[in-house]
């Protein structure tokens, strides 16, 4: 069973045909022309489809089951990852993990939403929807990074903070709010990258970066498209329209000043070439890390305050 979307079907059909022809007679010269033509046609079609994706189609790619997740990037981009557990208050929330890591020659504190690669992992990690203890662990690690003067790198990929009863009892709102407040004045550089879904406050609680990067097929929104549709369209099936209206894709967000840079992905999504995706991501992280590591604390926190003060569009 292949993971492809309905809008990718034409490409999939051609690829299947190519496979069949290749299998038929690998030596016969005549067929290789046909195969070559089909491959060209396939590539053109791919480029066409992916150049005019709708926001809703972007959401599908951002949520692709084979899309690389944090644990993939930990093994491809970072080395010497030492996971640090617990919020010292309640539990160890596996939906949001973090620890020491090396990015090239740079020691950093890495934190991020922890999507699973299969159902079993996702259940154990609550589908990367953190409870308050996840955010409190993130805060503990960020304060530790501040103590040791380590830059913080946060990987964002969540549908949102977990909407459970226990979460409310343990102060989900307060946990997010405290993180937003503390991150505003942290005395170390913070680089955030949205690698999948940026699900509202549950994402923002680790995303108040000096630099906010976004992979090209990722999305970032104040509410899920389904959530917005069920409220404003009174019907969750209008998610495609809601996704369009809310301007949740990387190019729109760059224009609105929400993000600082789009990190290119392989055509159709990182899952098509995880190594290439990781390489681009690593390059961007290193570039920005090098740039802002030199800032004095006062310059860093002043620029961060200016950055967030400037967000928003209103009339006077």
């Amino acid at each position: 069973m292949d993971d492809y979307f309905d809008f990718e079907k034409p490409v999939y059909e051609i690829e299947k045909t190519i496979e069949k022809l290749k299998g038929l007679s690998p030596e016969k010269g005549g067929l290789s022309d046909e195969i070559h033509d089909l491959e060209k046609k396939c590539q053109t079609m791919r480029e066409e489809i992916y150049s005019r994706l709708t926001p809703w189609q972007m959401v599908q790619i951002a949520r692709h089951p084979k899309r690389p997740v944090l644990q993939d990037y930990i093994s491809t981009i970072f080395t010497q990852f030492i996971e640090l557990h617990g919020d010292r208050r309640f539990s160890d929330d596996q939906a949001l993990i973090g620890g020491f890591a090396m990015l090239g020659k740079n020691p950093v504190m890495l934190i991020g939403h922890n999507k699973g690669k299969n159902l079993e992992q996702n259940i154990q990690r609550n589908f990367a929807q953190p409870n308050p203890e996840g955010y409190r662990k993130a805060l503990r690690l960020m304060k530790l990074a501040e103590k040791y003067n380590l830059p913080i790198i946060s990987f964002v990929d969540t549908q949102g903070a977990y909407p459970g009863a226990g979460a409310e009892e343990r102060g989900q709102a307060e946990a997010i709010a405290v993180n937003l407040t503390e991150m505003a004045t942290l005395e170390v550089p913070i680089i955030t990258v949205i690698t999948g879904e940026g699900g509202s406050g549950g994402a923002l609680a680790i995303a108040v970066g000096d630099v906010v990067l976004m992979q090209s097929y990722s999305v970032y929104s104040v509410i899920t498209a389904e959530g917005c549709a069920s409220i404003l369209w009174r019907d969750a099936s209008f998610a495609p329209q809601a996704a369009e209206a809310m301007k949740i894709t990387a190019p729109s967000l760059l224009e609105l000043g929400i993000i600082d840079e789009i990190i290119p992905e392989p055509l159709g999504g990182a899952h098509n070439d995880p190594e290439a995706a990781a390489s681009e991501l690593k390059r961007s992280l290193l570039k920005h890390l090098k740039r802002i590591t030199g800032y004095s604390v006062s310059r860093l926190t002043h620029k961060r305050f200016e950055k967030y003060s400037a967000m928003g569009k209103f009339s006077k």
Partner: protein, 277 residues
Amino acid sequence: MPWFTKSKKETEPKPAKEDIWILCESCKAHVFKEDWFSNLKVCPKCNYHAKLTAYERVEYTLDAGSFKEMFDTITPSDPLEFVYPKGSYADRVNEAMLNTGLNESVVTGTGKIADTTVAVAIMDFRFLGGSLGSGTGEKILLMANYAYHHRIPYLIFSASGGARMHEGALSLMQMAKTCAGIARLNKKKVPYISILTDPTTGGTSASFAMVGDINIAEPGALIGFAGRRVIEQTIKQKLPENFQTSEFLLEHGFLDMIVQRNEMKKVLKQVLSFCTR
């Protein structure tokens, strides 16, 4: 400014029932209009604290005539050119402005409480559900900055359904923006008191509303993060009656106190006397 004058009642012909009674939304009791307003829009039968407009809150909380409004020319724009079945965001905004006389979902300025000068931001639920939009966040931050520079306590009265969807991620960023303003107050030891009123939910509760030095709520307010129905659908269980009320939050350790509306001014005065030595 009297809400209702005796002479008006005397000169008019016998009024219809609706004119002199208010129906309590909560217990459905009929309350004499005069009693309703003299009780600061709190039901004398069931203690339901009805929503106040921003200017009513000003009148009930600040010393008479002390309020000086600031930043009132800030209004929403339509950065996403947002359109949905009900119409356009631009139309919704115009309606809200016409219906409330406000320019945004928050009123900001300075005033006095028992002669102590304070900075205030007071949200108004009538304006697009008190939602947090770009203009709201800007006003809240500007007022925080004023409090920071003038070293005066900052009081925010929250009444909000959360972030304003029609401005997309720009609304989401207002959570970070407002909290950045609060963070600076903390660094400079400027007091920040959060008063949570009905309702305080979503992106508002998950930002400035829950990080007061002191978190004060009115009785029976709806205060929470996710919507009740969303939670019930997620966990497939019914929730307790008092879930996400002020009392529930106090029980779970997230409020410093619950204060009756007619005691709010007195309590604020007492708290401020400790903050502003």
